[in-house]
């Protein structure tokens, strides 16, 4: 068992009558990359705010490096928010220097030495440009560099790759993998199931609770979808909708999650089509889990 960096035991957070996080257990070890998946309002951001020590729990316990969140534990965390958290009118190097002043100034309080070489090679050409004028992919690299500059033990990334091209995205994940290989534990939220493959394991949250966990394969399990191939997809789309079996369109093929091929065939009526079963994708399984959770909650 590797050292546990972050641990949540039955953690809850209520805002008035609303329970944003409901009995969440989480354990993150050294060198682990854990992906947190969830719709808006699932509780991901609230959970992160509690881990950062910005928000108190209403119940349960959060431990960072074996102690409750504090200014001292915060200094061992690197955090990249969705909004990146950079000063637009400073250059990447100036942002880094400012961050150094915050994280590196007081080693006796647990602050870390910030390495001057922390500005990665890829950012050198931009060192004299203010962040606000940089392309989004470069801004994201700068935010990563800043979050990693004080060699944090725990890295928290909130939707880190939004809006960048696939090669730039691969390079950001490369940075994450290098940090993890050096022992940093990483907790990352994403809306994009393709990125789940970069994580050692996943946690799916819905309505404040963890509804599934494990690798993508474990979460998908034996979930299946019906696949409809037809020359007249628009007619098939309308027939399925009318039968209460909403389909998604992929190219000219329709996919119907959670529906039996025989039911789909019946719903199609006179529409000529071939209907087969196929394994669900992670996104389709995620959708099913989220929907089930909200139905359970409504009927409760």
């Amino acid at each position: 068992m590797t050292e546990t960096l972050a641990q949540c035991v039955g953690v809850s957070r209520r805002f008035g009558n609303f329970t944003a996080v409901d009995g969440v257990d989480l354990q993150l070890g050294r060198g682990e990359v854990v992906g947190l998946l969830g719709a808006n309002g699932a509780g991901k951001t609230t959970l992160i705010r509690m881990l950062l020590g910005l928000l108190a729990t209403s119940g349960g316990q959060v431990l960072l490096f074996g102690e409750p969140p504090s200014r001292r534990t915060r200094q061992r965390i690197g955090y990249v928010p969705q909004t990146l958290g950079l000063y637009d009118d400073l250059t990447p190097a100036e942002n880094l220097a400012f961050s150094e002043a915050v994280f590196g100034a007081a080693p006796e309080e647990g602050g870390r030495q910030v390495m001057a070489s922390a500005l990665p090679e890829s950012l050198r050409p931009y060192r004299r440009t203010v962040v606000g004028s940089l392309p989004l992919g470069v801004q994201r690299s700068a935010a990563f560099a800043q979050a990693l500059a004080h060699q944090p033990d725990l890295l928290i990334l909130d939707e880190p790759t939004s809006g960048v091209d696939p090669l730039a995205r691969a390079r950001l994940w490369e940075t994450v993998a290098i940090a993890a290989a050096a022992g940093t534990g990483v907790l990352v939220t994403t809306h994009y199931m393709d990125e789940a493959g970069e994580c050692d394991r996943l946690m799916v949250m819905a309505d404040g609770r963890v509804v599934a966990g494990g690798t993508a394969g474990q979460i998908i399990g034996d979930a299946r979808v019906s696949v409809v191939e037809t020359g007249s997809w628009a007619a098939a789309f309308a027939a399925l909708e009318a039968a209460g079996l909403p389909a998604t369109l992929v190219g000219r093929t329709l996919r119907v999650p959670g529906a039996d091929p025989a039911d789909v065939r019946r719903a199609l009526g006179a529409v000529e089509a071939s209907v087969t079963a196929a394994p669900a994708t992670l996104e389709e399984r995620f959708f099913e889990l989220t929907l089930t959770s909200s139905r359970t909650r409504e009927s409760a």
């Binding site: 719709a39 808006n40 960048v164 090669l167 393709d194 998604t248």
Partner: protein
Amino acid sequence: MTAPSPGSGTGSAAAATQDWWGTEEASVRYGDKLALDHVTFRAVPGRVSAVVGGDGAGRTTLLRCLAGALAVTSGRVRLPPSLRIGYLSAGSGTYPDLTVDENLAFRATAYQLPAAVARERSAGLLERAGLSGARDRLAGRLSGGMRQKLGVIASMLHQPDLLVLDEPTTGVDPVSRADLWWLIAQAAANGAAVVFATSYLDEAERAVSVLALDDGRALASGTPEEIIAAMPGTLRVSDARPEGEARRRAWRRGGRWRIWDPPGQPAEPQEPGRPVAPDLQDAVTVAILARELAGAGAESVELEAGGSR
């Protein structure tokens, strides 16, 4: 299946005979910057097409041309009359200080849609997209996903011949995204040629045809299968990051390393990894990488990645 076109004048007659909307060799220059460089793109009625590329690739410029909002510097555009186009711009597209209902009523008036037709269509689409309970809320108070759904509904309410959506899913969670995909499919089922922009290739795979842009130029275009088939060279997958020169041709994906071997430069037997069949994401990544390596002058790489030029 073809959309009725109330109030569109000669537009509907023209629409019935058009087999595509789009651009031919279109260029757009802002000062000394060429934002779009000889791009050919075709959107076909009843089909969904994707325009992919990162920040600054030229997606928004192309989509603004398709919406008729921006004139090309050179080249040609073929568009329906403006009343027969629907457009959702990136990041906005709704009026924050109007309610959901007011947003739709205002758009319906702008599109000269009879009020009764607008009310009926609005009710159906809002219900299906899970927005029925939010009709009296200010658009500015909606969550990002709800606002994007409203924006798409507002742009498709008049059942346009060409529907242009700039990053409809950015910042939208997977549940709202499923509603957006349904709306997009519905618009195509009504006969619209639908174009959407995204930076995510797994989203582009939903489209019948894809145009990948980089630095204003077409990197690759065609069906996902065509783009994959046009990828130059071959691909390996390895558990370990390659050493030496191959490092620059490698990128991380799914916890492993993809290594691209350009044409005429096959991997030596002792090099790590085993051959892997590329998918759309690999093919587009290779196109970006090939251009990057060629631009760096490090080596000559033939750019044959299925571009439209």
